[in-house]
Amino acid sequence: MNTEFFAAWIEEITSAVRAGRDHLTELDAAIGDADHGTNLDRGFTAVGEALAAAPPGTPGALLVLTGTTLIRKVGGASGPLYGTAFREMGKAFGEATEISPAELSAGVDAALAGVRRLGSAAEGDKTMVDALAPAAAALSRAVRDGLKPEEALEAAATAAAEGARATVPLQARKGRASYLGPRSVGHEDPGAASTALVFGALRAAASR
C-alpha cells in the first residue's frame, strides 16, 4: 500500500464522515454534546485542504499531517484522540514508501496504543477504544493467518462495526459521557461509531 492508497483512505473517511455527520451528531446528542459529526467533518475537511496544499511524499508523512491537522481543528475530545491515532500510525511507518499488511497492522496497533495512553480508556469504557481495539486485533489475526489484504481489511471493518454496536449496553467511564453515569446506557458511543466508519473506509480504499 503506497501513499496514494493512504490518500484514498483519507478521502473515503472524509466522504463517510460527511455522509454520516448527522447520524454521529445524533448519537452524541444522546450522551454528549451533539457535536461529534460536526467536529469530524470540520477536521477532515481541514485535512483535505492541508494534504492538497502540501502533498506528503510517504504514507508516514501523510498520516502524521492528517493527525496534526485533526488535533488542531476538531475542537472536541476526538481531535486529540484521532489525531494521536493517525500520528502514531504515521510514525510507525517511518520513511517507507510501500506498506505491507503486517506493517499496516503494526501501525494500527501503534494507533491504539497512542489512544489508550492519551485517554486512559480501557475496553468496555464505552469509547472509540471499543471499536479500535477489536479492529486492531482482527487485522493482526488476519495477517498472521495469511489472509489476502482485502479479506484482512474486511475482517477489521467488521470487528470495528461490531465493537461499536456492542457499546450500546455499556455505561460510559471516560470522556464527558461518563458524567452521565447510568444515563449513558442504551446508546451507541459516537466515537466508536466513527471508528467503524474509519475502518469501513479502509476496506473501501482497498477495493477502489
Binding site: 486512559s120 452521565l180 453515569g181
Partner: protein
C-alpha cells in the same frame, strides 16, 4: 425535578458554569445562575439568590452550589432542611454532576450525593 442554583461572586462564572452543566446534563433541569451583586459587580445578592430559588423550585427541593466566600454565607442564610440544601462541592464539577442527576430524576438526597461524588472524580 430537583432545582439547582449556582451561586458565585461572579455573574459570568455562574452563568458560564450553568451553560456547561446544562449542555451536558440536559436542558430540562430547573437551573438558575445567581452571581454578582444587583448592580452587576463582584459579590453576592441574597435577593437574587432567593429569586433564583423560587424560580427553580418545583416542589422537589433545591440544591444550592456556592463557589466560595460570601456565596457560601448567602447560601447558608437560605438553607431550609429537607427543602433548600447546600452542596459543599467543587463548583464546576459538582454543578455538572448535580444537573445530570437532577435530569435523571434523582431525589434531593440523590442530587446532593451525586454532586458530592465530584470530590472523588479524577480527570486523568
Amino acid at each position: 425535578m430537583v432545582g439547582i442554583v449556582l451561586i458565585s461572586h461572579s455573574g459570568g462564572l455562574a452563568a458560564e458554569t450553568a451553560a456547561l452543566a446544562r449542555q451536558i446534563g440536559g436542558a430540562k433541569v430547573p437551573l438558575a445562575a445567581a452571581g454578582g451583586t444587583e448592580d452587576g459587580g463582584l459579590g453576592t445578592s441574597p435577593d437574587r439568590v432567593s429569586a433564583a430559588v423560587e424560580e427553580v423550585d418545583q416542589g422537589d427541593g433545591v440544591v444550592l452550589i456556592p463557589d466560595l466566600g460570601s456565596s457560601v454565607l448567602t447560601a447558608r442564610l437560605l438553607e431550609s432542611p429537607g427543602q433548600v440544601v447546600i452542596a459543599d462541592v467543587p463548583f464546576v464539577e459538582g454543578a455538572v454532576s448535580a444537573v445530570v442527576a437532577a435530569g435523571g430524576g434523582a431525589s434531593l438526597d440523590g442530587v446532593l450525593a451525586a454532586a458530592e461524588e465530584a470530590w472523588h472524580f479524577r480527570k486523568l
